[in-house]
Symmetry: C2
Subunit: 656 residues, 2 copies
Amino acid sequence: MTIRLPILATLLVSTINLATHAQVPVRRFEPVSFSQVTVTDHFWRPKLDKVATATLQACIVQTEQKSGRIRNFEKVQRGKHEKHEGIYYDDSDVYKALEAIAYSLKNRPDAELEKKADEWIDKIAAAQQPDGYLNTYYTLVGLDKRWTDMEKHEDYCAGHLIEAAVAYYNTTGKRKLLDVAIRFADHIDATFRQANRPWVTGHQEIELALMKLYHQTRNDRYLKLADWFLDQRGRGFGKGKIWDDWKNPDYCQDGLPVKAQKEITGHAVRAMYLYTGAADVAATTQDAGYMNAMKTVWEDVVYRNMYITGGIGSSGKNEGFSVDYDLPNESAYCETCASVGMVFWNQRMNLLTGEAKYIDVLERSLYNGALDGLSLSGDRFFYGNPLASSGNNARSEWFGTACCPSNIARLVASLGDYIYGKNDSGIWVNLYIGSNTTLKIGKTDVPLQMETNYPWEGSVRLTVNPARKTPYALRLRIPGWVSNVPVPGDLYRFADESKAAFTIKLNGKPVEYKEENGYAVISRTWQKGDVIELNLPMEVKRVAARKELVAANDRVAIQRGPLVYCVEGADNNGQAWNLLVPDQTTFTTQAYQVLTEPVVAIQANLPVVGPSADGTSVVTEKKTVTAIPYYVWANRGKSPMQVWLPTKAKQVKLVD
Amino acid sequence: MTIRLPILATLLVSTINLATHAQVPVRRFEPVSFSQVTVTDHFWRPKLDKVATATLQACIVQTEQKSGRIRNFEKVQRGKHEKHEGIYYDDSDVYKALEAIAYSLKNRPDAELEKKADEWIDKIAAAQQPDGYLNTYYTLVGLDKRWTDMEKHEDYCAGHLIEAAVAYYNTTGKRKLLDVAIRFADHIDATFRQANRPWVTGHQEIELALMKLYHQTRNDRYLKLADWFLDQRGRGFGKGKIWDDWKNPDYCQDGLPVKAQKEITGHAVRAMYLYTGAADVAATTQDAGYMNAMKTVWEDVVYRNMYITGGIGSSGKNEGFSVDYDLPNESAYCETCASVGMVFWNQRMNLLTGEAKYIDVLERSLYNGALDGLSLSGDRFFYGNPLASSGNNARSEWFGTACCPSNIARLVASLGDYIYGKNDSGIWVNLYIGSNTTLKIGKTDVPLQMETNYPWEGSVRLTVNPARKTPYALRLRIPGWVSNVPVPGDLYRFADESKAAFTIKLNGKPVEYKEENGYAVISRTWQKGDVIELNLPMEVKRVAARKELVAANDRVAIQRGPLVYCVEGADNNGQAWNLLVPDQTTFTTQAYQVLTEPVVAIQANLPVVGPSADGTSVVTEKKTVTAIPYYVWANRGKSPMQVWLPTKAKQVKLVD
């Protein structure tokens, strides 16, 4: 992005020919819902269980006791004009925790947990006003003030309510919350779209949520409302409301109409939710305008403004984007929620385009920037996810603004949503995660079993068991990191040529396939018991960055498979800023344990600098250095850490 | 300080026996006003001139054009309900600039500048309401809202108006602004004290200002009002107003009544202004309560919470104090205004006790922590004054909250206030600054001339020219740094024994004196042309800190005279974190130039670490390292800097 002065862009819009390069967006395939997928994976299954047993418990304890989000609903129910606790957007934490519970109940049924969810739903339903409005902040502060401040997240909270309601209905079939959500959505539609009352949501979220409601209910009122919300932006309605002469409209992506946007700007989570919603609307309305804008914006993110971890939003000041290539390591903001948003948006882009490059980015954000937000214990969280630490970072129990814990919880619990796609003539395998599902191809049920030890090993075994012989194309995503380009664009590149290639076998023998949009496409008639074996070469690779990315100048990162590695003090005598990775370094892999987590560590014999025994000078010695996957750092106390490692000594700092 | 839970302390007060150890505070001597002193000093005079020619010009440009503080007064005058610009406390910047102009006009008469001041005064006077109220924010926002929010700095702005008015009257004899200030003070007195309406000022300042007004007018209404404001604190009146369950009352020193306070807490500038006002009131009311409390609080500041630069308030979070010994270097907040406040408060403590230790602290804050806030060019400012920098710090042209520029300007311009004291039987020389004054001792005029090249050299020549032979005691402050204790308490100590002692000669011959309260007291009958020569040994000294001050563990600072030194990259190949100062280091001094500023630099041959020529390792070599006075750093672009230098290598960081 570039920094721009706030301008009212309505006039510009008419000059943009939206028809140019129009590519009508229709989903190439449909995602397979978490509710149809059973995750059995060695890597992820324990994480799903940890979310169920630890993360959701933390969310519940915080919601009910410590930060007491649920008390506001109880206060509304009592109707005694009690004081609202916390921040005006705290209702959303309850909804997001509920949504995570909904996904988790599918993964791991739990009567106790479901009872708790039903209890909450009763309280939420009881707090709904007769006209459908539902927001504890304004109900307690004074309903006369509702819908007067675009910044106050009433619609944002509504969006999270809707998402929770759809998820809970999908898992349990219970529609009480869904009915609450529908009434609230109808209230919003009547208040704004039908009343033709301008309203720019201060924090996007309702658009994507309404699209979920639309797909669930097939009531096109919600599609129209989602589209209407998108269309409100960039027309000046937010001036003096969510931005002004002092606060740039780009902060909330309100500087230009969505279809005219070309650069990523402002608050990262707001941006991700916006484009996710825009992609959802585009897929249904087949409006090319959103898609064309988003492709350009996406390139601006991935080519110039994304960390190697898939994290985005480098600046803590605006919780978002600054200028191109400004990706500092130690002060990286990289909010967990922004990485979660990257997963959402890239999934939609993949569905619309059929291109695997979006999943390359999704996978990068998922396994690195997002997963880092959750401790191995499941009950500690990072809000920001820096790429270097002097040793002062620790995950927290909770936050005043507690968006991240329930966001990472709902992402992990809904992992089943991201593995497969399908249409009537084919199956897409996007992520290599051990799982079972049954997909209907045409009229045939195709049970599918995936077994793998990914991301530690590159072999993936897929067994297909169609009820009868069935022709379809099986598309296996060939991750970008298999080639020499770890992510699309040339922000990052591997420093070494790949030495190995991937292989695909069918029932033990090489099989013909064609490569298309980043997938290996195997088109044939499949029969019961067919086994596909994909083998992805798991080389240790050094990554370099474009020279414009100053924070990575004369530095390399280490990647293996989808995992970005880091050096943490906990494995290296408390140090992580004292080593050099010369160009010809040879790496070895090593089975390793980080607390409860079995990982593949990467080791090398490297020049390490440190004080002489008497402390009067500094000496350089070769030592074994151990690197661990980035997502497991900061689980063993405070300790320095670095992702980008220097290739040569430049400045030397003596510190305590 | 220690962190305490907010408690309502009113009940505690009655249990404190204020009579214990009561020492009735009466000023031991009176300060000699800036208006009676002509500063001729080699070190300071150019700085006074720079304030007059550059700093005040910057203040004027900002006040009139860029940040437009004066426009709010013009808007009030036009009476057309225009919108207030900036922040609610911005009036204070106009008043503080005016106050600085007032002092400067004494130092350096300037008809143009005086005309500008008169113009502003006309605008200020025109903005005063018929009942005496004067505040552009509330006048523009709605006078019905005035005096409803203790946090909104109405009384703080009033205080700065009063200070400016008194200063301007003292320099020019013009009383228009003084009359405005009196009317406003009367309005405040009628609104609060006389109406018995509880009011805790959210940002202290009015107390010390009212005491200036009292001394100027001799109207004890202002004394009573100052005392009343002090007495409002710590009684719970501020609860829910300037603090609540979430914001500690200690932030604004409202957790305990002032006389019951024992620990320094909260916002540093608020605290300094409070205790300055309390000392002023105590001196006049002879109330021992304030004095007893302040002595304990002062020890808590100086013994456990003061940087070696005399800076205070280590935490940016609350712009103030955190926990004892928490004095980080790089993240040190050390607001310029807090060091200015240290000068104010310590001057009052010295007047009340006659003890030189307070001037030791004043001098430390003045020459280091405060002076650092002003660039050599006079038109760039530090808000915070860190003790270490990785090279990202630069002084700014101005600030949104612009308290610091005019605060350092008014301090430097009023330097004449801090040099001398006197009573009927003696003269106190507190600071060694070349200057002329005439003091009346009993009925005799005693012209006094001080010549020195302090702080670069330690020799001071005082010529006294009493109109006739006069007996009195001349007290010369012997700075704490001459001994082995650079500041009172044992937070800092010199690592080496002093090798030299100070000497005093009268007319070329040794003279008898006794040491009392940190002064060398020469009691005799003085006659025309008597010359006293004081020689202070200007040794380079290594300073160590108590082990509790973790940020200085295994580190030394360098001090010479009152000046604390630092190593800056600008003098050392761009590096400042790459050197060791072993215990037996020999230092040399060197005449040196930092831009326009002639200084004494300190050099040593030290182990310096750095990359080998090929960048594959780190080597240690002996090199000449140059240290400069702390107050001149950051004048030659961004560059790393350190005050506390490591004595041995511990952790080594390879950075860019």
